[in-house]
Symmetry: none
């Protein structure tokens, strides 16, 4: 604005005369940054008056040009309804930027003003990644100060309790809204009214940062048997809480997704019941088609050994037995490992321990199933066939078991979900590997070039 002071005088005069229409006319076509300047130059009272006069879209545009602390100041002077309207009118990126600029406490208060949809959008834009704790948290909690008396705290709890999703757990924060402790409501009920909050604090609490994976929230709530889990930023400022009922939903959803992946179905995202035929088809066909290529490799291995098969067609009979058992063993170890990683029992760094153990288990399984195959081979094809089957079965089970156990770790290393190591994938890979091992052993022992 070329001449702010002149406009300012004019506006002050108009406001003094309560000439609302005049002010509106004067500012209607002014650029938002200039309106912001005018707002900044006015006293607190006049500022609110003027702000209320602005057309809604201009108000929100001008607002986004204010300094963060001015925004906060202005918002405090507006009624909740006005603030809500204003925030809803902001462009999402302005809103996110604004929320980001605010200290944790103010962000919290503002998030409370938004309706659930807008809040979800705002949290999205605040940059919490999908499946992070930040996406899961709610701002409806009760916080008290350590220097308050229990009676004061209970008054505050009664007041705030009407809006809060849960008052089972009371949060103690300092002046900068940093989390100091979490206390059960029960402690307040059982304490004397004149005790200070500080006196009943034990300073033992569990919290999580907003950027962590939501599975970690599940683990913490489950491990510590919590009802709510406080979420803090990197500076320890309380941002919100995660409640156990949300975590139960997350745990169920994650289990469903892992189970679907375990059968090479891309997670349906919605329930099976509500999934349309097209969804069911499209979530399945990709994996099936991709695995056809792996299965073609199995066919290739057989084709390569055509001469071996024609000279001893009996070898064909045992193909399904060997490759299916290898696939089954691999599915077992892959599934055990994927679930153990999902529940946190096995950490990605423990791969040598885990794969080493599966090597031993695979050896015992290979021996047991090898002996069984030896008997079947002896019965169906004599001594030599029995030996081929024993060696093939034992080696195949050991190798496929290791593939199944190791694949989830390899996928994790590649930045993928270990659950992609599905039974169909492991089975199809085990087919190829199993055929190669089988024909290698058969051609060597039977003296027929493969």
């Amino acid at each position: 604005m070329s001449d702010n002071s002149k406009v300012m005088t004019e506006i002050r005069t108009l406001l003094g005369r309560k000439d609302w229409t005049g002010v509106r006319m004067l500012l209607r076509d002014a650029p938002p940054p200039d309106v912001a300047d005018v707002l900044l130059a006015l006293g607190k009272q006049e500022r609110v008056l003027l702000f209320r006069l602005l057309p809604r879209s201009l108000a929100s545009d001008a607002f986004s040009y204010l300094e963060p602390f001015k925004k906060d100041e202005l918002l405090k002077d507006l009624s909740d309804e006005e603030a809500r309207e204003l925030l809803a009118d902001l462009y999402p990126d302005d809103l996110a930027e604004f929320l980001e600029e605010m200290p944790g406490m103010a962000t919290q208060r503002l998030l409370n003003l938004l309706d659930p949809d807008d809040r979800k959008d705002a949290l999205n834009l605040l940059g919490y990644p999908e499946k992070s704790v930040g996406r899961l948290m709610t701002p409806y909690y009760v916080a008290v100060r350590p220097e308050w008396t229990v009676a004061q705290a209970l008054d505050h709890i009664r007041e705030r309790g009407r809006d809060s999703e849960t008052i089972h757990v009371i949060h103690v924060v300092d002046a900068r809204w940093r989390l100091l402790d979490t206390l059960s409501l029960r402690r307040f009920i059982l304490a004397g009214p004149d005790d200070t909050v500080e006196r009943i604090m034990d300073r033992s609490f569990v919290s999580i940062t907003a950027s962590e994976d939501r599975q970690e929230a599940v683990r913490l709530i489950q491990h510590y048997d919590l009802v709510t889990l406080p979420v803090v930023d990197s500076g320890g400022v309380l941002l919100g809480i995660v409640t156990v009922d949300d975590v139960l939903d997350v745990a169920q959803k994650e289990a469903t997704e892992d189970i679907q992946l375990s059968a090479a179905v891309s997670p349906l995202k919605i329930s099976y019941r509500d999934s349309g035929l097209w969804t069911l088809f499209s979530r399945r066909v990709g994996w099936l088609a991709a695995l056809v290529l792996v299965n073609m490799a199995s066919g290739g291995v057989i084709a390569y050994h055509e001469d071996l098969l024609t000279s001893s067609i009996a070898l064909t009979f045992f193909i399904p037995l060997l490759i299916a058992t290898g696939g089954n063993a691999g599915s077992q170890s892959a599934t055990l490992m994927v679930r153990a990683m999902a529940t946190g029992e096995v950490k990605p760094a423990q791969y040598t321990w885990a794969v080493g153990r599966e090597l031993v288990v695979g050896l015992i399984l290979g021996l047991a199933l090898g002996l069984l195959s030896w008997m079947l081979g002896f019965y169906r094809g004599g001594v030599q066939m029995a030996l081929v089957l024993f060696l093939a079965m034992a080696s195949i089970v050991v190798v496929t078991n290791i593939i199944g156990a190791g694949l989830p770790f390899i996928l994790y290393r590649l930045g993928m979900d270990p659950a992609v190591a599905s039974s169909p994938l492991v089975t199809s890979v085990a087919d190829v590997v199993g055929l190669i091992i089988y024909f290698f052993i058969a051609s060597n022992l039977m003296g027929i070039p493969g």
Copy 2:
């Protein structure tokens, strides 16, 4: 605890110096699960020493987080008097779970240590079938009478609250202890002290009977976002409560069991991490050996068609492709159905709807994969082979998809867990069925008697 290993070093030093007060101070405010971790990490001798140093309530809380065999080990090292004290301090549901995990004789020995009342509680809880709600409930809840004033009720809550696992939810019962309502503690805090309890009742509550499956408790708590769920007998008399943290554990355990079954692993019962090699072997070998018999049937089908194969060895190349794809499609539909049944989305009575839908999905999948196979067959073996492959693949996918979708319902009808319809089982059955279909189509189209 952020850094267990640091605490551990510190504790070892303190124990070495026999600085009992230091250890007590260090652990006094630590969360019980972390104390359990510390106990686990110590050697036997140090463990007993440390355990004896813990305040009684912390000792019993930490004890309930130990693995079953560690509990047994620790108890053996305690004197009878110490063991008696410890068991008396356990929450009844934790006690019941512990007793259940022990072999029969040991249970008896421990029951003898309990005083008559505690023994009665434990036996009561043990009287409910495994996986029933009764096993999950705790009798530590707070109940008030409708004719009491809110002030009276709060006094009672303060009094009883010291013993109760949770006072978040207050139960209103009549003179015969029949459940009339559940009210959140918050309502009492917010109500006037002279109101009667009756006045703040809404007579809207959710309860469950003790004999129901614990999965139903999971569903109710999840559906209604409850913190606790009251358990009643058939006459509506309040028996105990189930808390959401127990339910979260149940949900995770059931998901893990289903996932393990989905790969034909008999549920491990304890965590993968703590399962010994023998457990891992024995939980897997049974299914693998049983499936060998099914796989032998596949070999039998191939042997039966020996002439067909010798006259057209190219047919062999496509065996892995066809049977593996059939197995994969069957695994997918079986896994989707088992999970949908476990979460209650699909009821056992809805089998016509579910299988009908999978028939349609199977037809679309069969068509898509059939066309893909047609191309592969044309490229590798000409027009006739392409036709055989198209027909075989399409029919196999349709049939195996139906088998996978239907098997869970059949198992349920037979009184078995639908999750027994594992990927390996479905895959192995699909192999046999796939081979029969393939050779039937090939022999008819190619004019070679099968």
